[in-house]
């Protein structure tokens, strides 16, 4: 009986003072939306950032322990199988040839498609087609030591080779002084097999270390080393951005929570007269408190439902705008958001309790 009447009071209270209920509901929605958006973004942040760091290229280098032998033919397949599905790898083979002018020059055999994916920072006029066996990329410094870029005459030992330069390569690094050509052409020309595999494993220092351990197990007798310059820098920056986001999330959540708390508890205080009236009509203290809490709970639930949708949409938009990849809604953040909102609502309802408990119904109803 008492429950039934409580439900009725609750419904009337919410419907009758529509404006106030609505403003409380909006406040709860905002706090839930902010919490959802920030938590969703935060949960996804590390993987998103690590994806950006992919543009730095390979962070693990696999070489033969004995530099005179090449690496086994199945090494690349093994690397790709061990390093993880989102890892990228390319193999390289190096030799020193001489140009038609007699200048010694480093020539590199590789797979252009793999390199293109791995080394996105390479600036290339035109990538050679994979089918073109004699297409080459000329480093911008190497190109100055070649008589005709479209008819590159090279000699390795006593074997001549004519390549057609597809475009120039600009990197600002050692690659500038080299000529890159397809691996198959390279192998038939020089007889040399791949000697280096460059691997890019997305993730911070721990993921890279783990990948190195796995690679060392899978490829006994080969040297697997991290590119220290990249691995350490990446971890540092991701950690700092992470910490910064953490600070921002706490700060914003706190601000919104306290503002919402202020709004809600003001609206509870405003109802001192209702409280006094109910007390005068025979409601017990705990009865009335339960009513207030129930009302807060309903508002919080409504806020969470609307806020979760809004917040997930905001997180999706932010991530689409900034990282150009979608962040999908996460169910995992829902309990936390719910808990946070309930906490705010209960605090807002309980905060004025001290004031309400001291009330003398008669005095208040008479006009304070």
């Amino acid at each position: 009986m008492s429950h039934l009447s409580m439900g009725a009071i609750l419904r009337r209270s919410l419907v009758h003072r529509r404006a106030r209920s609505l403003s409380a509901l909006i406040a709860m929605t905002v706090s839930a939306a902010v919490a959802t958006a920030l938590l969703t973004l935060y949960a996804d942040l590390d993987s998103k950032l690590h994806r950006e760091f992919r543009s730095f290229g390979a962070n693990i280098v696999v070489t033969a322990a004995d530099s005179n032998n090449g690496i086994p033919a199945d090494a690349l397949a093994k690397v790709l199988a061990t390093a993880g599905s989102d890892a990228q790898a390319a193999e390289f083979s190096y030799a020193v040839a001489s140009t038609d002018r007699g200048t010694p020059i480093v020539v590199v055999g590789t797979d252009f498609d793999a390199v293109r994916k791995l080394n996105s920072w390479w600036q290339v006029d035109a990538w050679p087609a994979a089918t073109d066996a004699n297409a080459a990329l000329l480093g911008q410094r190497a190109a100055q030591f070649v008589a005709d870029e479209h008819n590159v005459q090279l000699t390795f030992g006593s074997h001549p080779l004519t390549l057609r330069g597809a475009g120039r390569l600009r990197t600002g690094g050692d690659e500038d002084s080299r000529i890159y050509l397809p691996m198959a052409t390279f192998t038939t020309w020089t007889g040399a097999h791949p000697s280096v595999i460059e691997v890019q494993v997305p993730g911070g220092a721990t993921q890279v270390e783990a990948a190195i351990v796995r690679l060392r197990q899978a490829l006994p007798g080969m040297k697997v080393d991290p590119v220290r310059q990249l691995v350490e820098g990446e971890s540092r920056i991701v950690d700092k951005t992470h910490a910064l986001m953490y600070g921002a999330v706490l700060l914003i959540a706190l601000t919104v929570a306290v503002s919402v708390l202020a709004t809600l508890s003001a609206s509870v205080l405003e109802r001192r007269r209702d409280f006094a009236l109910m007390k005068a009509l025979g409601g017990s203290q705990s009865n009335l408190m339960a009513m207030f809490l129930l009302e807060a709970l309903v508002l919080a639930l409504g806020g969470v439902a609307a806020g979760y949708i809004l917040g997930s949409a905001a997180a999706w938009a932010i991530s689409q705008l900034n990282f150009h990849t979608a962040t999908l809604p996460r169910i995992g953040v829902l309990p936390l958001v719910f808990l946070l909102n309930i906490l705010i609502a209960f605090l807002a309802a309980l905060f004025p309790v001290r004031v309400l408990r001291r009330l003398e119904p008669a005095a208040l109803l008479k006009g304070e």
């Binding site: 106030r20 403003s23 406040a27 905002v30 939306a33 902010v34 920030l38 973004l41 950032l49 950006e52 760091f53 543009s55 730095f56 290229g57 020193v96 200048t103 010694p104 020059i105 480093v106 920072w121 390479w122 600036q123 410094r141 600009r170 990197t171 600002g172 690094g173 002084s177 280096v196 590119v227 220290r228 310059q229 820098g233 540092r236 920056i237 700092k240 951005t241 910490a243 910064l244 986001m245 600070g247 921002a248 700060l251 914003i252 706190l254 601000t255 919104v256 306290v258 503002s259 202020a262 709004t263 003001a266 609206s267 205080l269 405003e270 932010i318 705008l321 900034n322 990282f323 006009g367």
Partner: protein, 439 residues
């Protein structure tokens, strides 16, 4: 009268004012802190990105082709072209001189380590001359600052001339191979040095581990390498770390094809390309290139992180705006009775509205100002905790004056916009109805 009403309202309704004020205070604190972090994040992340080393490399234009595989020089060139060490000071005179954060010249030479004394057997070693702690017109720079991933055990050699011995640093793999440790002394002979009796012996002051070919080298002060090779003032290659603006389509243009006005704009933007261009102009016979692996990727990372901060700031702004306007609306809804009383005593709608707006405005300016201070402090504290800062934080570095009017104006707009619907509703309702309902 109006003024007295305003004052009394603040004096008597402390709790209500405190609640609305608290909402504004917290909102502006969060917004100021986020905006302050977002405006400075670029510089801070850029400092962190310096961990990737140089983003511009300078070498002689007439250089021979390097024959390097995996960082190892297969056919080391002897002779060839050099840059002048004395020209490097000109880097501090280019347009974007203040953006040059570090300079590290290097001179690789071949030497022999005579481990068994002057008459002992000679082991060929690769020696690289570097700056370690060089004062280049106001910035202290050198190889260690440009290669933060180098791990040193011991100390870097200093430039001061030691009588008796030359300090050197040995790469970890070479040290193991030759059985050297800190304090070992031996004779290091260069190509140009025949008269060994007068040469001071080399003493190992540190062992460095780098993870690349430097592990197989001996690092000495640049002047020592120059003396070993007999080339005064020479450097083979210079690495430069510069603070740059991420590259866009305009940056990729060739400055020589641009109109003079456009070229001026191109020249005066801190793109890696324009800084490289200015370095070429400043150092005769040089060629400067951006190191794409570092520069291009840094640009992406920088853009993403600062973009994220700006978007989060926008979200914070929106949320704080909502929270503050809800608090303002509640504060006014609570006072409907007051409005009814004033109206029935003869106050015009304008007067009442003006009174409430004045209250909201005063509150916004006061709490907004406090929030600005609190937010600036908070962002400074957060920034200092997360990022390494150089030097003590001063008040002037904490406060960003531009943000003050922005934040206070935002607080004003939000407070007034938040109160408007509530004030309007209270003014539309018949005063007698309000009074009857309330008393």
């Amino acid at each position: 009268m109006f003024f007295r009403l305003l004052m009394e309202s603040f004096r008597r309704q402390r709790r209500r004012k405190a609640l609305a004020g608290l909402a504004i205070l917290l909102g502006t604190t969060a917004v100021t802190a986020m905006l302050a972090l977002a405006t400075t994040i670029g510089d801070r992340i850029h400092k962190e990105l310096a961990a990737y080393g140089a983003n511009i490399v300078v070498y002689p234009a007439a250089d021979q082709l390097e024959v390097k595989v995996g960082g190892v020089d297969v056919k080391p060139v002897s002779g060839g072209a050099y840059l002048h060490e004395s020209d490097l000071a000109k880097l501090r005179g280019i347009f974007w001189a203040n953006n040059i954060m570090g300079v590290s010249p290097e001179l690789p030479v071949n030497g022999s380590a005579l481990l068994g004394g002057v008459d002992g057997p000679a082991t060929p070693v690769k020696v690289t001359g570097l700056w370690f702690n060089h004062d280049l017109k106001g910035i202290t720079t050198g190889a260690p600052t440009l290669h933060p991933w180098w791990k040193l055990e011991g100390t870097w050699p200093s430039e001061a001339v030691h009588t008796g011995h030359t300090n050197i640093v040995v790469g970890s793999r070479l040290a193991k191979q030759l059985g050297l440790h800190i304090g070992s002394a031996f004779v290091l002979q260069g190509n140009a040095q025949k008269d060994l009796q007068n040469d001071p012996p080399a003493q190992v002051s540190g062992i460095v581990s780098t993870g690349d070919d430097v592990d197989n080298q001996i690092l000495v002060d640049l002047s020592v390498a120059q003396a070993m090779e007999g080339v005064k003032d020479a450097v083979r290659r210079v690495e430069v770390s510069a603070r740059t603006k991420p590259e866009d389509a305009f940056a990729r243009k060739d400055p020589d094809t641009l109109s003079p006005a456009q070229r001026e704009i191109w020249y005066c933007r801190p793109y890696a390309n324009s800084i490289a261009y200015q370095i070429r102009e400043a150092i005769p016979g040089s060629r400067a290139e951006q190191v794409r692996r570092v520069e291009q990727s840094e640009g992406t990372v920088l853009k993403r992180i600062s973009g994220l901060m700006w978007l989060i700031s926008a979200a914070a702004l929106l949320a704080a705006g909502f929270a503050v306007s809800a608090a303002m609306a509640t504060a006014i809804l609570e006072r409907q009775g007051e409005i009814g009383l004033m109206r029935s005593l003869g106050a015009s709608k304008t007067t009442v509205a003006l009174l409430f707006y004045a209250e909201a405005g005063l509150l916004a300016i006061f709490a907004g100002g406090l929030g600005y201070l609190a937010g600036s402090g908070l962002s400074g504290w957060l920034g200092a905790r997360i990022f390494a800062t150089d030097g003590p934080t001063t008040i002037s570095s904490l406060l960003i004056p531009v943000l003050f009017p922005v934040v206070v104006t935002l607080a004003l707009i939000v407070a007034i916009a938040g109160s408007t619907p509530a004030i309007r509703r209270a003014l539309i309702t018949d005063p007698s109805a309000i009074l009857r309902a309330n008393v």
